[in-house]
Subunit: 236 residues, 2 copies
């Protein structure tokens, strides 16, 4: 029953917010009348209100409307009543911290596991993994744990970036960071490049978009998977 779209990024270069995903979003939410938007990740530190307005205006372009979680006295009630969920990008530490503080993790997973269509972008995709341990974000706030929604049985690294050719910068590459992660964690990590997204249909997790994705397994060399690959094959 699970229906999810987990995108690496909300916005690709030279295009407006979510635009490259419009047909995917229309299809995902075609039966949803009450899509709940969760703005907790606050990209650039913008307010919940401003973030919700951006998403509302964008969804209106494809004749979808969203409801604001802050309109409810109680976020759990908002999740119970909705028939679609979108968690937007921003800072993963902040997003997870709010999910933990409002104690809505179980409610979200129950809802999504029962078939409520779900969209995540960037940090909103990252929190759907086992932990947020492969985020690129700064730890601007200290959540009580890095364990997250566990809606897919691996970790996601959004905005996955290949080493920049001819760069003289000596900071760790993304691959090095994920290698360090695997010293202390066992789960598979999916490096999802911008423009790629995962389409989750119950147990099938298909790579979509035109780019390959990079797979990192503990104690193994990393490798690429092609678009249309079913990640389910990696998990058995």
């Amino acid at each position: 029953m699970k229906k999810m779209i987990l995108a690496s990024t909300s916005t690709i270069f030279g295009s407006n917010y979510l635009e490259y995903l419009f047909s995917v979003i229309e299809s995902l939410f075609h039966n949803s009348k009450n899509i709940l938007f969760i703005p907790y990740a606050r990209p650039n530190g913008i307010s919940h209100k401003a973030y919700t307005r951006l998403v509302s205006d964008t969804f209106n372009k494809i004749n979808l409307s969203i409801v604001e979680i802050d309109n409810y006295d109680n976020p759990t009630e908002a999740i119970n009543l909705c028939d679609g969920i979108f968690i937007g990008g921003g800072n993963s530490f902040l997003l997870l911290d709010k999910i933990l503080k409002y104690n809505i993790s179980e409610e979200i997973t129950k809802k999504v596991n029962s078939g409520t269509p779900f969209l995540g972008t960037s940090a909103g995709s990252n929190v759907c993994g086992i932990t947020i341990g492969t985020t690129n974000d700064m730890p601007i706030i200290h959540p009580s744990t890095f364990n997250s929604l566990n809606l897919v049985p691996f970790n996601i690294n959004p905005h996955y970036l290949d080493p920049i050719k001819d760069s003289t910068h000596m900071g760790e590459s993304r691959e090095t960071r994920i290698k360090e992660f695997h010293q202390f964690n066992n789960q598979i990590v999916i490096g999802l490049r911008e423009g790629s997204y995962l389409e989750v249909d119950e147990n099938n997790i298909i790579l979509r978009g035109s780019k390959t994705a990079r797979i990192f397994k503990k104690d193994q060399d990393s490798f690429e998977i092609e678009p249309k690959f079913n990640l389910n094959k990696l998990l058995n």
Copy 2:
């Protein structure tokens, strides 16, 4: 009495490990016979042993020798007995987690505040700030707090990186991330470019190296400071 060198990176492009800092390190440790190396940050996930060997071989080139913290039954004793400290780079979450678990934070700060020469590179500089909240590292392990050694009264962002010209990557820039940090934190952040280091001499904190550094203050536009600038001026 405080004598510290806090470097953005251990290694600059086209040069060997620590090489660009050799004369600075010689001068810092010229009276030290018992320099303690703390390898907890484990860059690339290398072992304490391998990391210590690299540092030992490098220090030997300038006729300095180091002692391994793992040779002592008790890290607190190792800190008590040393007359110089070097905390190497790697992963800041892992480094802070170990410092907290071994409960040596107070011992290190007492020692450094009493004049024991201190060298930090990358993550080893980052932990000298108020918190590790401006690290670029992946949260591969969950420390019980992000509060760190507080040996300098601000936060450091090592390997500070300007936005890459003509990049089509949409992931957040370093400046955006630090702006998000300032939604929840008040301290000044120093974006320290590779090749730059801070020379701390009691209350004077001088920017060294040939590059400018970027200063971020909450609710203000960020700005550059020139080499030789005394950061003390920003703090009053």
